[in-house]
Symmetry: D2
């Protein structure tokens, strides 16, 4: 791994784009060399083109990069997509057709049958959908995706329970404002308030979770047969989506068995020691009032999911709380881990 | 109704006590004449004894009342109890034994078999438990109670669904900080945060809901047989508990039938026109992002429950959002409505 | 006063427009009959054209009014302007030229020499600038304005001190998010944060205060000669601008004299008993930690200014805290009180 | 510097004590070996005795330390004091009398004539007050202190202006809730609110600033003769005190001269490269809406002060915004930097 791999970001000036810029700072494998944005920004330096919205200041070295148009020429082969859903479909396809590897955080292609929807600890084998994707679409490049920012928290919390036979899941989310981008949620809407609605979010959680936890058959993914019901709320928290989860498990494990399964759960990223992989992807907390977004979300570089309060649910059998970092494990960090997985499995060399 | 009835408040200097003082301001039937508190406050004027924590200033006329010890002598027959659970059991019993009518917001006696746990729109007939209570305990007085502040929101939202056959309920709450009293929740704990735990709250919601929706048999209340599971969270909202509810209904009504049942639901307080009764105890909102605590909780003087977003739950069949005012409908207003019900049914004259 | 006067609102669908709609609900003199907005909204019912952002729901009766284009024909003579500054200049002038009485909350004309910038308790006599305005511009109608939402709090707090000889004023504001309209301040910017900048606000406070407290000479207003320095900050508060004020007074009054001046201060609105006038426009609070926006801002219908913590400033001599409701006394309520003043002085009949 | 120096913390279980524990994690010079607390905690492990209130979890290795009584025997020579003001006076003196070096964050001794009140970049020479202190009190040990959490931000922002002749200063603070410890500010008091009062804070800022910026004469400190006036407010921010400052400077420098002075300002900690010293103790930001607490306070490990918006004040000549981390540069980090200064100047060896 002597040479760092040049990478680019589509939608680099938006808030998710900024999160990619932040997350890639000092990355041992990837070298950020290309930033694509709308025509309005193209030709300007990234510093000129961008109002930096994240904490602190823009990482050194990035501000001088001249922003390119979002067109598939000249950029590096590996490109992260932080594009808004309103434009991502066509541009991502154009890049993939032109031979680029698009590692996308956008929702547009997630549920297409031949597109991997990856959480590397859970379904690294779904990457092989790329072969089908390239065959069917005649692309030299490819598109792989990561889940919605609330879905990934649920999917990771459920993954170690899959051997116990997941039948039914009811989840209520309390989601951070950073999940809505910038300007995103108006302060007049969320200050000292709860908004019991996030457009499209419940449907995404219900369907994406089934696909992520599904089985790769060789040519497609058979979704998990469990029923999933989501209620999504916005709360005045900066970062971190908190979930109240009830789940029905066929095999009726004890609480101790579940906690052991959570704590012992590892995946390909841990086995291969991928740079962004947390040593323990799931952390079970014993305190009766944890996890909490403001106190826990930044731990483990935002890449772990925190679980607590496992107890008996009088209706479905088990209930617990889960927390994950929506802009790291739910966006930029998720995509970078996907790219690390692809590198480690040789997909970037094909 | 020519003469106003003198009433007192036990625990008058605490935050719930202050809410009683506020709610009784200008009450057409009840005249606040007596304020009981700890020995530390007794003998002082209410103004001296109290740090007013609510919005605005202390209602005129109350500040001059001299605070009494919490002992059953000299006070009016009808006494509201806003006492802390740590002391309520003995004091409430002593008052009831001495002939006082205790209309309590404290949790201590709610689940005792011979104590009515009232939501007047739902179970006005449970008041008749008083006869059993007086017979068994040899009291001339009595204790009646109102539910926990999150329970009342759930119970009222479920009440019109009871004819459809409620089988199973899963609820996740997002509760306001005012529910914890004063000083209550430390700002360091809840600022820009979620606390996924409220001590004892889940158990109260699960059991109290069953008792409230239960059937009075003549001597006792048979609890509703539905299973109820609650997950309770604290969020940085001032007033108003928001609930995400999933429910299974035996008769599989249409959404239109449910909304009609919600909108048409009335109880004894509406039929009798009790002073604190909201004209419509349940208000169904059509907007897809309502109800919201900051925007809706003060409507209808805080005495209605707001419901929205009825939709299909893939697991239990139906899901919706509910909101209620925890310090009004969930505390002081609930107790005052209970006393109004008792007055209107002649219990205060016995 | 048998017949209610028909009134309209320019910019009716925006957040300030909604505040006018709210404030005029049940007004004893003014009957809201006309709503003007952009071409995009014109022709729709107000309910269709408007996303209601305020607490509760749209007042009854308003939703059915068909929105008109913002053009000076057909509407009532008296029109409140809640227009955005980007369009207010031309449209307000067109209405005034066509004979309308424009009572504007927009900043555009405030500092023009022949336009009254009114706080009716302070400078009701400045209304006579209208004669000069009509003469110079050849208008049959007229434009009168109210101050910026933070200026009005400062000007009212200073007004009773004017007889003591105001020399220098330093003020730091902590302003509510509602002051920025909708969507206004992004929650990502203000959640658990302070933004130490509000565009143009400091200049407005410094200059408008001098004009409001200035002397009407018969043809113009000579601004108060005191120096004013403002630092303006946004804080995560919903309604209510809080000010830390230091002031130098030539006559060196005692604190008791100042408090007496504040408490005894009345103006034309109180003398005439105007419908929206608070009985006491300034309320001095003795508690050492008041006023506070969340607890005090809704008192007196949002029309009073609250003052507290008068004490010695080692630099300028006196310092204190002031609070006012930015969307009521600082916007809709201010303009309506201006119109009430004009009615009571016969200006609407000319 | 081969051997790490053993250090202790008095008041270790409180919130400031926890901040010391956090800040000392991995310190290159100091080895945390001793934790003192009240008798109630003594004998328990730190993990048992402490409810960890900070973000994340307790640093590894600390939880097993057995908590000692707060008595001067057995502990290391160098002890940080995070004690509550109600008990600090006697205990700190007892430790100093017994030969301990007390580096205290408590307010109790700050203003005593023979006690250094240090900001190492500003007044490292004030350390020599220790000689006077030991002589007068007959102590083998000593007490040195750091300023109040809001004072340090003001003093550091003013220090580079001292050569321009500081005459008068007016400051308004917007202070974070973490400044009040735990449980500290009740959420019912501060949620979506401003509290315009912090007990004793204004006096501390006014007097401590003068002492810190004063001149050491050889036996005492002559306070800066500038007048300072402070208004202190609590706002709903987690960490970081924001200050609006107006200042009068005798020499009337240009804005460019001031910014150059700020940016070029260094002190002994930078010259000696002390472990906790920020490379640039003052950072001037060009953006017109910065610094902001949530976005900037964690930069530079919380040890720098951020300044912005330098502009003309119509009253005092200059105004600007300053921000500092109240629990780091204003508490634990300040004390640790003091101890590093003492070590580097040989005071720990005496």
């Amino acid at each position: 791994m002597n040479e760092r791999i040049p990478v680019g970001i589509l939608g680099a000036t938006g808030m998710v784009g900024q999160e990619f810029v932040n997350f890639l700072r000092g990355h041992p494998w990837f070298d950020l060399t290309w930033l694509g944005a709308s025509d309005r920004s193209a030709g300007k330096s990234y510093r000129e083109a961008t109002s930096w919205r994240l904490g602190g200041v823009m990482p050194p070295g990035v501000g001088q990069i001249v922003v390119s148009e979002s067109q598939p020429n000249g950029g590096p082969r590996l490109v992260f997509s932080a594009m808004d859903a309103s434009v991502a479909t066509e541009i991502e396809r154009a890049f993939a057709a032109a031979g680029h590897i698009i590692v996308s955080n956008s929702r547009n292609h997630r549920m297409e049958e031949d597109v991997p929807l990856l959480v590397p600890e859970i379904n690294a084998d779904h990457l092989r959908l790329i072969q089908e994707q390239q065959r069917q679409r005649g692309w030299k490049g490819q598109i792989v995706t990561n889940p919605n920012c609330s879905t990934v928290v649920l999917a990771m919390a459920l993954a170690p329970l899959k051997p116990f036979g997941i039948r039914r899941v009811i989840v209520t989310t309390m989601q951070a404002i950073s999940g809505a981008g910038y300007p995103g949620v108006a302060s007049m809407d969320i200050n000292a308030n709860v908004i019991p609605f996030i457009g499209g979010e419940e449907e995404k959680m219900e369907r994406e979770t089934q696909k992520i936890l599904g089985e790769f058959t060789g040519v497609r993914v058979d979704p998990l047969q469990a029923k999933v019901s989501a209620q999504c709320n916005r709360v005045p928290v900066v970062d971190g989506h908190t979930l109240s989860v009830s789940v029905e498990l066929e095999n009726r494990p004890t609480h101790a068995e579940i906690i052991a399964a959570i704590r012992g759960w590892r995946g390909v990223p841990q086995q291969k020691g991928l740079p962004s992989a947390p040593p323990c992807p799931l952390i079970y907390m014993e305190e009766n009032d944890r996890p909490q977004p403001r106190r826990d979300v930044e731990r483990e570089n935002g890449m772990a999911v925190f679980i607590g309060r496992l107890r008996t649910c009088p209706v479905l059998g088990y209930k617990f709380v889960a927390l994950g970092h929506n802009t790291v494990r739910g966006a930029a960090g998720a995509a970078v881990l996907n790219a690390e997985l692809m590198k480690s499995e040789g997909w970037l060399d094909k």
